[in-house]
């Protein structure tokens, strides 16, 4: 039992409608109609989730419907997703059914953070950025 920690599980035969707040890790094997913000959300093979999700990591093996905003999304072979999916990184297994609107990097903040990461990771864009920056700073001087 203690192994579970603070993980919340909605059991296979359970049906929940309402509001869930202050949740960190949640697993859904039953039916849930709710909006939630969490660190990690897992929708099991028999799971059905209807509502908005905001999370760092979402693993979908069951059915999802709604607007999802997640850092990492893993859509496994048995999944079906409809609605809207905003993600930073997405993995989709062969067999998964996506019938949804998919957007990469949904917020300005995340988009900025991501481009900064890319600059740090790969030297090439960084060099070109520097060159651009150099060109930009150089041109006013030329003008003056």
């Amino acid at each position: 039992m203690d192994k579970l920690g603070s993980k919340t599980v909605i059991g296979a035969s359970a049906n929940f409608t309402g509001k869930i707040t202050n949740v960190r890790v949640i697993e859904v094997h039953g039916k849930v109609h709710a909006d939630l913000t969490a660190e990690k959300v897992t929708i099991g093979q028999a799971g059905y989730f209807d509502g908005a999700i905001r999370a760092d990591l979402v693993v979908v093996s069951g059915h999802y419907e709604g607007k999802m905003q997640a850092g990492s999304v893993w859509v496994t072979a048995t999944a079906s997703v409809s609605g809207k999916l905003h993600y930073e990184t997405l993995q989709m297994d062969r067999g998964a059914a996506l019938n949804c609107h998919i957007v990469h990097n949904w917020t300005v903040k995340n988009a900025a953070a991501r481009s900064a990461d890319e600059d740090a990771d790969s030297p090439l864009p960084k060099a070109s950025n520097k060159a651009k920056a150099g060109a930009e700073t150089a041109s006013p001087e030329e003008g003056a």
Binding site: L4, G11, N15, F16, G18, N22, R24, H29, A46, V59
Partner: protein, 120 residues
């Protein structure tokens, strides 16, 4: 088909509903044929076979179940076949139960009556 990591992950505790940690749930929960364990906060209606409110659990609302064990806090309307209020349990409100046990140290405030036939 080989067992993938996520299948292992989802095969644990699939049937029982656990509401754990600091979370707050509001609404209606039907646990179906499986137990519901609450160690967080729940406001609303619960229907299930077994309901266990653990020490950190707080439930406000209506609970209909066969067996109920309360180690935490309950406030509202409780209809069940058998109820056990453990030593750390606090119950406020209206209780309908056919079999009732209250441990030494438990707090029960409100009315207690026998459940009628319509209880699950």
């Amino acid at each position: 088909m080989s067992v993938k990591p996520y299948e292992k992950m989802t095969s644990l505790h699939e049937d029982t509903t656990y509401i754990l940690g600091d979370l707050i749930m509001e609404g209606a929960l039907d646990g179906g044929d499986h137990p519901v364990v609450i160690d967080g906060q729940f406001n609303g209606d619960i229907t299930a076979t077994d309901v266990i409110i653990r020490e950190q659990g707080k439930v406000t609302g209506t609970v209909k179940a066969k067996t109920v064990v309360i180690n935490g806090y309950f406030n509202g309307n409780l209809i069940c076949e058998s109820l056990n209020v453990a030593a750390t349990g606090i119950v406020e409100g209206e209780v309908q139960a056919n079999a009732l046990s209250i441990d030494l140290g438990a707090e029960v405030i409100g009315s207690i009556s026998r459940a009628n036939a319509k209880s699950k």
